[in-house]
């Protein structure tokens, strides 16, 4: 029972990180139809920002991580993706791979390929006692932060003028423009938000693993992307929920599968994904704008 609660909290915290990552990817896909694999590098660069600043102050490192990811997101938008706006999704996808490789190799050139150890947020490594169950404070913090960011993003999208413009642009960009919505504003906002989410994810990942390396974002993004597909590409709640369940599923598979099968846990997660897509090819929460196109 106790162990079950511990595994569950662990799984929920990992699910939260995947949900935030999937939301960041879904945000860009919504307004641009771009599957941005360079989201991985936003997380990675934020991780290295932590390496640079964590010795001086934790607060500074957190702010630096967020700023690094936001600024990098805006630069990639301006330099790489803006000239391709309106290009077909395949072109956009390939260009996001190119941007991702470029950033990763540049980083390796500067800092090398070897992982760096970071003792970030060591205070969160201790256990706390909740109703008789010993839980990792870090896991609880991760869950709290994920909820806060999901809530904040929801608020922004639902209750602000910018959010309304973003939702309109996600459904019908051309009509939104005809009503006066400025493409540069909503797309830059989407990139900034996805950068902020990537920065937050980086903080929690670095605190959990104590390591930073040039490919740290990649696996996270690939799996989170699967989450956005399950949730239904183009649907933000779908992305968050899909990402959450993929993360949750992968940790539960790790805990529940027989020892010999654990190295293959991702295969089991992907089988589940394939089953979902066989039953619901457009994902669990298909977006209306995509359904119309098909």
């Amino acid at each position: 029972m106790r162990e079950a609660a511990q595994v569950l909290v662990d799984a929920v915290s990992v699910g939260g990180l995947y949900a935030l990552t999937a939301l960041g990817i879904g945000m860009i896909f919504g307004v641009m139809r771009l599957v941005n694999f360079a989201h991985a590098d936003l997380i990675t660069f934020a991780g290295y920002a932590i390496v640079v600043f964590f010795a001086q102050s934790t607060m500074l490192a957190v702010v630096a991580a967020a700023l690094a990811a936001i600024v990098l997101a805006l630069i990639t938008e301006r330099v790489a993706f803006r000239p391709l706006r309106g290009a077909n999704p395949e072109t956009l996808l390939v260009s996001s791979f190119a941007v991702s490789f470029f950033l990763e190799k540049t980083l390796i050139m500067i800092v090398g390929a070897r992982p760096k150890g970071v003792d970030f947020l060591p205070g969160l490594a201790r256990q706390v006692d909740v109703a008789g169950v010993r839980l990792q404070l870090l896991h609880l913090m991760t869950i709290a932060m994920s909820l806060a960011l999901l809530g904040g993003t929801t608020w922004l999208l639902r209750a602000t003028r910018l959010g309304l413009e973003m939702r309109a642009a996600a459904e019908n960009f051309r009509m939104a423009e005809a009503l006066g919505v400025r493409a540069n504003r909503v797309i830059a906002a989407a990139f900034a938000i996805s950068g902020l989410l990537a920065g937050a994810v980086a903080c929690m990942i670095v605190a959990q693993t104590g390591l930073v390396q040039p490919r740290m974002g990649l696996q996270l993004v690939v799996i989170a992307f699967v989450g956005t597909v399950i949730g239904g590409l183009g649907s933000l709640p779908g992305a968050a929920i899909g990402g959450f369940f993929v993360g949750l599923g992968s940790i539960l598979a790790q805990a529940l599968l027989p020892e010999a099968l654990r190295p293959f846990r991702e295969a089991f997660v992907f089988i589940a994904v394939a089953l979902v897509l066989i039953v619901r090819p457009l994902g669990l929460f298909p977006s209306r704008s995509l359904r119309q196109r098909i």
């Binding site: 309304l164 939702r167 400025r182």
Partner: protein
């Protein structure tokens, strides 16, 4: 008739091309404050291309378009509405995943004044159907209600020119009558209205001037009664596409 001073929209020698197809050829006309101008023609005559060019949605090959005296050369799509021209596009293009009130708020995207809330209430007073369903997803509205929403959304920008592309498409006769009643009411407030239609009967009944379009050109223009009396009218309108045209008295 129109006077040059009151022209809200002025189009001169406009030619619109898509790849090798020329959709609009050397169109010249204007629309003045407080008048309804109807462009009538069969499917494929170039009506939509003409409106798309004015809304900066289509690529424009040649010619001159002025909205409220300002040329739209180099004006991005999102700034056309800032010049004073609002579009009710073909197929309505309302945001189906957003609520009715959110659609209307998007109509006021360009505004930063304090009267948006009171304008919303005015719209709800004028379109009671929308008031009842203000929190509902717009995709759940009927076709006629969606058309009303598209018109109301355009009005939220306080336009001086309202452009409608095929507002009658897919509407039942009752809903259609309501749409055209609204247009007449909007005209009486001094808004210039440009409407492209296949359904000639409605447009003839309410328009101040009619332009008959076929194969990308205006073949006839004038007051509705003048056009109906013109001996070339049947040829100009029906001569092009027998099956595409709908003429119901």
């Amino acid at each position: 008739m129109s006077s040059a001073g009151g022209a809200v929209l002025r189009v001169e020698d406009l030619t619109v091309r898509y790849d090798s197809v020329t959709a609009v050829k050397e169109a010249t006309f204007e629309v003045c404050a407080g008048e309804i101008v109807a462009i009538i023609g069969p499917n494929g005559a170039g009506k939509s291309s003409l409106l798309s060019a004015i809304a900066a949605i289509a690529l424009r090959a040649r010619g001159r378009i002025e909205i409220c005296g300002r040329s739209i050369d180099d004006v991005p799509r999102s700034d056309i509405v800032r010049l004073g021209a609002a579009l009710v596009p073909e197929g309505r293009q309302i945001f189906t995943s957003l609520s009715v009130i959110e659609n209307l708020k998007l109509g006021a995207t360009i505004r930063r004044d304090m009267e948006i809330a009171s304008d919303l209430e005015a719209v709800f007073a004028e379109f009671p159907v929308l008031a009842e369903r203000r929190r509902q997803m717009a995709g759940l509205l009927s076709g006629g209600e969606q058309q009303m929403l598209a018109i109301a959304r355009a009005l939220m920008s306080r336009p001086r020119l309202l452009m409608l592309d095929e507002p009658s498409l897919g509407l039942a006769p009752m809903a259609l009558a309501r749409v055209y009643d609204k247009l007449a009411a909007i005209r009486s407030r001094g808004v210039a209205i440009l409407v492209a239609e296949q359904n000639a009967a409605r447009a003839f009944a309410v328009a101040d001037r009619v332009l008959i379009m076929s194969h990308g050109r205006f073949s006839l223009s004038g007051r509705p009664d003048e056009i109906k009396a013109h001996r070339d009218f049947d040829g100009a309108y029906f001569g092009v596409a027998m099956s595409g045209a709908r003429w119901s008295g």
